[in-house]
């Protein structure tokens, strides 16, 4: 972590956090974990709509798989009951396993798609699964000059 911070500081053109977009939960199907796939306007110029929607849809699929009430979850419950829930000390629940998959997926998406576009997706579990936080970064180096120019232009125009 320290190394990464150091690297960031070494960058000639560093990025600074400019804005955060929060993708809210989609409660239309109940309290099952789903996120809205509506493309936020702030990201319109930063990332393709399809990429973003794919990410959210994949996340929704993951969560649906985690919360699925089926054989595996039932067996897990029975096993837990039988062992007086001591099994939770040794075994990872199904949901936790899927959460790890989700974390890995988000990490991979960040690396491949979002970080090159100056965006970062935060795992919703860190927000209590209420929102997907998308951080928008700006190029500190060039944004400074461009903002300067725009302000100059604004003043000159006025």
């Amino acid at each position: 972590m320290a190394t990464e911070f150091h690297n960031l500081q070494e960058l000639r053109r560093s990025a600074s956090l400019a804005n955060k977009v929060f993708i809210q939960r989609d409660y239309s199907e109940g309290t099952a974990c789903r996120f809205q796939t509506k493309f936020p306007s702030e990201l319109e110029s930063r990332i393709e709509r399809t990429l973003f929607e794919d990410t959210v849809k994949t996340l929704n699929t993951f969560y649906a798989e985690a919360e699925k009430i089926g054989g595996q979850s039932y067996l897990e419950g029975c096993l837990a009951c039988a062992t007086a829930y001591l099994i939770f000390l040794c075994m990872e629940t199904r949901y936790e396993k899927v959460l790890k998959k989700i974390a890995k997926y988000i990490q991979e998406q960040n690396e491949k798609i979002y970080a090159p576009r100056g965006l970062l997706i935060t795992d919703p579990i860190e927000r209590g699964m209420r929102v997907i936080e998308v951080s928008i970064y700006e190029d500190r180096g060039s944004s400074g000059s461009s903002s300067g120019s725009s302000s100059v232009s604004g003043s000159t125009a006025r």
């Binding site: 804005n19 239309s28 110029s45 009430i69």
Partner: protein, 699 residues
């Protein structure tokens, strides 16, 4: 006894502390301690005193069975007590930025076609998800909040409701078992009731019997809740009384939902696995097409189709379509501003009523109000501008933007019309130049401030529809005049400009801006020169004087705008040829030129401009530098000097009157700009020689 707060006593009452470290209140632990004591103690006594006889007399299975039930009860009790019920972590500050003072208290969400209200939790700083409630005892928002149970000293929520429910079931069973087997013992020891075992057994039976009534009642209550798919909170507050419960999935599904659901994860106290991602610029900008197209359309007021911004074919399209400069505003640009707060849309809607280029104004507004939330747009603009030098996109942007500019001339009967049209707007827009500044800059959304900003400014700076209509009428009149006079020239100019534009579109402007300079890069000079040659003989000298005086520089413009385009590339010969003609109509050009200069001044020239780029039709940031060059070039070639004015289309409206005064006068040019004052040194060089090697950029 739902245990909502009765047993809690002082626990939690008056707890105003919202921070995690809550004061230690021993009273909170009385009920849970009592419950634990009774449960464990009684059962232990039962095992010690009653079970030996039971195992001997009845069956050894009995104690084992009771032990199993007891362990199950205890396990569920521990899970219900110690498990996180589904506490939501407090929202971070940046999440509730907008939801502070002006945010409504309730947000409505539709769940299976039923409206459910989400209340804003001021402690936790978010809108409570459906079925979430804030526990005043624990001072936390709990997901699927059921109730706060004092007997376990914990909230019952999504994560531990199952264990609580099973605890209730198993406790009821255990109580029944203990009572029953105790009764068996007592009935079998009626004569030995004074023995300790019997006494203890009777004591245990009394405790069991005492707790059986409330526990069984609670168990039955929760069985009904589970079957109905409700929480205690919902039941007690009567949320769905007489209404439909959107969370009710049917009895069996509700039961399976409670008992067979996967164990939900905890939100608090998770292992912090933050992977620091390096977000390093330059950033990719994928969505240039849409936004850029819209921006271009907005900038020029020329409705081009949005399909192929970056392709050369789009340029062709735009050029062919630009003939109608007053096409209806595209609906799409509105989408660009979907993120804008209402005031923006209101303003823009007002402006959209202006016939010629409503979209321009909308675009402008976005930039006129920097405080708005269209940070994305401005951000993107800035980024694009910033990136123009770095990322591969700018070239596309610029090329995509270029067509808009090019199409203008081609559409409006060649260069002249374009100039004229622009000039009209300019004249009208001069008043609002200041405001147009940022707008113009914003106009360069597509990434290039140069060309876009200029045209953008011309439109935006004059938001009044009156001016617009005047401008429009001017342009249309000019256009018609133009057409009448030089259809052939127009065709030719179009042809040349078309080719030049297309070729230019493909190239990346060297200076990184979409100025006219870049459009008329030296590489294109041969085309221009040839075009100029072709056109010049066709331009009737007659119209020149009349048009110049009549404020219809258009007539002059057929050749002059072309000249303007080609000025950097025209040889001195050609320039001198034009000089006479230009001077007549130069007045008109000066003003737009100045206007352009002024408009362009804000964006700083970012790249070296070709010395030949003297054209007056400056659309971009280069204007200032261009003026410099113009100055120098003009000084070098007197003919070239005169080229300056003709290039810029005569401004309509205000500028027209002043244009006449331009001839040979430095100051006159400045008069053209009501707002700019005499700052347009650049323009001055046209008339009275070249001044200001450094075009002063109005602050």
């Amino acid at each position: 006894m739902p245990g909502l707060s009765s047993g809690g006593g002082g626990g939690g009452v008056g707890t105003a502390v919202s921070s995690p470290p809550r004061p230690f209140r021993p009273s909170r632990y009385v009920p849970v301690s009592a419950a634990t004591t009774f449960l464990v103690g009684s059962t232990s006594l039962f095992f010690c005193f009653t079970c030996p006889w039971l195992s001997d007399s009845v069956s050894p299975v009995v104690p084992i069975y009771i032990a199993v039930i007891f362990i199950f009860t205890l396990a569920n009790f521990c899970m219900a007590t110690f498990m996180d019920p589904g506490i939501f972590p407090r929202a971070e500050e940046d999440e509730d930025k907008e939801d502070d003072f002006r945010a409504p208290l309730y947000k409505t969400v539709e769940i299976k076609a039923i409206q459910v209200r989400m209340k804003w939790c001021s402690t936790c700083r978010f809108y409570r998800p459906p079925r979430c409630s804030h526990c005043s005892v624990c001072d936390n928002c709990v997901e699927d909040f059921d109730h706060h149970c004092p007997w376990v000293n914990n909230c019952i929520g999504r994560r531990n409701y199952r264990y609580f429910f099973l605890f209730l079931l198993s406790l009821t069973t255990h109580i029944i078992d203990v009572f029953s087997f105790g009764l068996v013992y007592v009935l079998n020891h009626r004569q030995q009731l004074d023995t300790p075992q019997a006494a203890v057994t009777m004591g245990v039976m009394c405790v069991a019997g005492l707790f059986f009534v409330p526990v069984a009642g609670l168990t039955g209550f929760h069985i009904v809740l589970v079957a109905r798919g409700r929480t205690t909170n919902e039941q007690v507050t009567g949320k769905f009384r007489g209404g439909v419960n959107p969370f009710n999935k049917g009895c069996s599904r509700n039961i399976s939902h409670i008992l067979c659901r996967a164990q939900a994860p905890r939100y608090t106290g998770r292992p912090y696995m933050h992977q620091k991602m390096e977000v390093q610029p330059p950033f990719l900008r994928p969505s240039l097409t849409e936004a850029q197209l819209e921006a271009k359309i907005l900038d020029n007021g020329i409705q081009n189709d949005r399909h192929s911004t970056r392709s050369k074919s789009s340029l062709d399209q735009m050029e062919s379509q630009s003939a109608d400069a007053e096409a209806p505003p595209p609906p799409k640009p509105d989408l660009q501003y979907s993120g804008l707060p209402p005031p923006d849309t209101e303003e823009s809607s007002l402006l959209t009523e202006a016939p010629p280029t409503p979209s321009m104004f909308k675009y402008r507004l976005a930039y006129n109000s920097p405080g708005r939330n269209h940070s994305a747009i401005s951000h993107s603009n800035k980024m694009i501008r910033g990136e123009s030098l770095d990322s591969p996109c700018p070239s596309i942007l610029k090329s995509s933007r270029q067509p808009s500019y090019r199409s203008e001339p081609s559409s409006l009967d060649g260069v002249t019309l374009v100039g004229g049209g622009v000039g009209v707007r300019r004249g009208g827009g001069e008043r609002g130049k200041g405001s147009g500044g940022p707008g113009g800059a914003a106009g360069g959304v597509s990434g290039g401030v140069s060309g876009h900003s200029l045209t953008g400014r011309s439109y935006t700076s004059y938001p009044s529809s009156l001016v617009l209509s005047a401008a429009g009428s001017h342009s249309s009149s000019l256009r018609s005049a133009q057409t009448a006079h030089n259809p052939l020239a127009t065709l030719q100019s179009e042809g040349t400009t078309d080719t030049s534009y297309k070729s230019l579109a493909n190239q990346t402007p060297r200076n990184g801006s979409l100025s006219y300079d870049s459009l008329l890069s030296p590489s294109e000079s041969p085309e221009f020169e040839s075009a100029a040659h072709e056109l010049s003989p066709q331009k009737p000298p007659g119209p020149f004087p009349s048009s110049a005086k009549a404020g219809q520089p258009r007539v002059v413009s057929p050749s002059s705008p072309l000249k303007g385009y080609t000025s950097p590339f025209l040889s001195a010969q050609i320039a001198q040829q034009r000089e006479g003609q230009l001077l007549q109509g130069s007045a008109t050009f000066s003003s737009p030129h100045r206007a352009y200069l002024r408009a362009v001044s804000p964006p700083p020239p970012t790249s070296p401009r070709p010395p030949e780029a003297q054209h007056l039709l400056q659309y971009g940031q280069d204007l200032s530098s261009r003026a410099l060059r113009n100055t120098s070039s003009l000084s070098s070639s007197p003919g070239a000097r005169s080229l300056e004015p003709p290039i810029s289309p005569p401004p309509r409206g205000l500028s027209l009157s002043k244009s006449t005064a331009y001839t040979g006068e430095t100051g006159s040019q400045y008069k053209l700009r009501p707002t700019g004052g005499g700052t347009m040194v650049v323009g001055g060089d046209v008339g009275g020689g070249h001044q200001a090697p450094h075009p002063p950029l109005p602050p």
